[in-house]
Symmetry: none
Subunit: 231 residues, 2 copies
DNA sequence: ATAAATTGTTGCATATTTATGACAGTTCGG
DNA sequence: CCGAACTGTCATAAATATGCAACAATTTAT
C-alpha cells in the first residue's frame, strides 16, 4: 500500500463519486461518509491521513466536525481540506480559523484537488514518512527500510515489513483481518482472510527477540492489535 | 548523470517552460513547482542542487519560502537564485538578506541565466563535489575520478562510478530502481528498470575486494541500499 | 465436559523478485 | 576504420516470498 488514506465527507453522493475517482486515479485509498456522524466513526476507526470535508452539510455541519476533530488530541493532527461552494468564500476565514489546512472551492479540477492535497499532506507530516518509529527497543526506519530490536537487525519479508509499519503507525487499536488486508495488502486484492494469520505468525517470529513478539496481540473474535501494554 | 538538479519555482507555466528548456539544453535535470507548497515538498523529497525561485507568487511568496528554507538546517545550504521582474529591484536587498545567493531580473537571456547558475553552483559547494569520500577503506575521489579500496586502485565503468558516488552521498537509505535511474542515469532516460540490476552487479563485482561488495545491499521488494551495517 | 469456534503452526506448490552470463549495438580514441 | 571499453537487454538460473490447506491447540458457549 504505502498509499495514503483519504476520507471524503460530503452529503451529495455524486460529488463523493467524483472525488473518489479522482483520488483513486492518483493512487489514494478512499473512505466515504455522507454525514458528520459516520465520518467521525470512520476517523476513529481508520485514522485517515487527510480529510476532505464539505462545508455545508445537513445535521452537524462540516465546520462543526472540524472543530470537534481539532479539539481532540487524537484527531487534531489529521489535516483537513474544506470544500466550499463558490460564493461561500467568506467562510474561508472561518474555516481556517477552525483549523482547516486548506480549502478549495467547487467547482475544481481533479488535478488541482490532487495537487493541493499532496501539498497539504507533505506539509502536514514532513517526517512521518521517513522518520524512524521506535517503541520499546523496536525500531523501524522507513528510509533505510530496516527493522532493529535493541540495535540488532531483524529480518522479515516485505509483507511483514508493511504489516509492522502499519501497526506502528496505528498502535493500541484492534483491526479485523479484513481491515488489515485493506491497509497492508491494498484495496482490491483477493486473499483469504486466514492468510493474515500466517503473516502475523511470520511477523511475530521475526520479532522473537526479547519478548517483542508480544507487541502483536490477538484480539479474539476480532483480529489483531499492536500494543505496548501487556495483552 | 553528473548533472545537477535544479528546481524551478514559478507560478507562470510559460516561464517555467522557458527555464526548463534553457536548463535542459545545458544538461541540468529539472524539477518544477508552481507554488511554494509544492516546491517545499519537492525540496524535501529531491534535495535539488539549486533553486530558481520566483519572487512574486500567490500564496506563500518566494521570499517567505526562501526564509523558511534558510531556517531549516537540512535545506539551508541549497543555493537560491531569485527571479524578480524589472522594477522590483528594490527587493534585491531584501532577497539577499533572506539568504538568496543571487538574483536575476526578468527578462533575461538563457545564456545569462546558465552562466549565473554555474557561478553560484561553483561557489556553493567547492568541496562537496571534489572532496574524497571514504568509508571502510573504500575511497572515492571525485577530483581524480578514482576509486580505491585500502589504497588499491579499483576499476569500474563510468556508470558504476556514478552509481557508487550516488550511494556514497546517500548512504543508509533504500532506493527503488526507478529512483536510481532518476538520480544516476538522469531524469528522462528510458531504460529498463532491470538494467539497474546489471549495473549493481557490475559495481559489486568491482568492489569485490575484502568483502566490500557487501556495502551494496539488496532490499527485497524495494531496491538497493548502500550501508556499512551488515545487511 | 463436550462440541463449536477461533486461532496457531507448518509444509508445500506457486508466484515473484533478483542475480548472472551472454550478446549485440555504440562510443571513443587512435 | 579498427579495437577496446561500455551499455542496455534478454534468457535463464537461483533465491525468496506468498497464499493456502490441513491439522493442532485454545478458547468459548452450551
Amino acid at each position: 500500500m504505502t498509499s495514503r488514506t483519504i476520507l471524503i465527507v460530503d452529503d451529495e453522493s455524486a460529488i463523493r463519486d467524483m472525488l473518489r475517482i479522482a483520488l483513486e486515479m492518483a493512487e489514494y485509498r478512499c473512505l466515504e461518509a455522507s454525514n458528520a456522524q459516520d465520518a467521525h466513526g470512520l476517523i476513529i476507526d481508520e485514522k485517515p491521513d487527510l480529510i476532505l470535508l464539505d462545508w455545508m452539510m445537513p445535521g452537524t455541519s462540516g465546520i462543526e466536525l472540524a472543530r470537534r476533530l481539532k479539539r481532540d488530541e487524537v484527531t487534531a493532527n489529521i489535516p483537513i481540506i474544506m470544500l466550499t461552494a463558490k460564493g461561500e468564500e467568506d467562510n474561508k476565514i472561518q474555516g481556517l480559523e477552525v483549523g482547516a489546512d486548506d480549502y478549495i472551492t467547487k467547482p475544481f479540477s481533479p488535478r488541482e484537488l490532487v495537487a493541493r492535497l499532496k501539498a497539504v499532506l507533505r506539509r502536514a507530516d514532513p517526517q512521518s514518512s521517513s522518520q524512524p518509529i521506535k517503541v520499546q527497543g523496536l525500531c523501524l526506519d522507513p528510509a533505510s527500510h530496516r527493522v532493529t530490536i535493541n540495535e540488532r537487525e531483524v529480518d522479515m519479508g516485505p509483507t511483514e515489513f508493511r504489516l509492522l509499519q502499519f501497526f506502528l503507525t496505528h498502535q493500541e487499536r484492534a483491526y479485523t483481518r479484513s481491515q488489515l488486508l485493506d491497509h497492508v495488502w491494498g484495496g482490491n486484492v483477493y486473499v483469504e482472510e486466514r492468510t493474515v494469520d500466517v503473516h502475523i505468525r511470520r511477523l511475530r517470529k521475526a520479532l522473537t527477540v526479547d519478548q517483542h513478539e508480544n507487541l502483536v496481540q490477538t484480539v479474539r473474535g476480532t483480529g489483531y492489535r499492536f500494543s505496548t501494554k501487556a495483552g
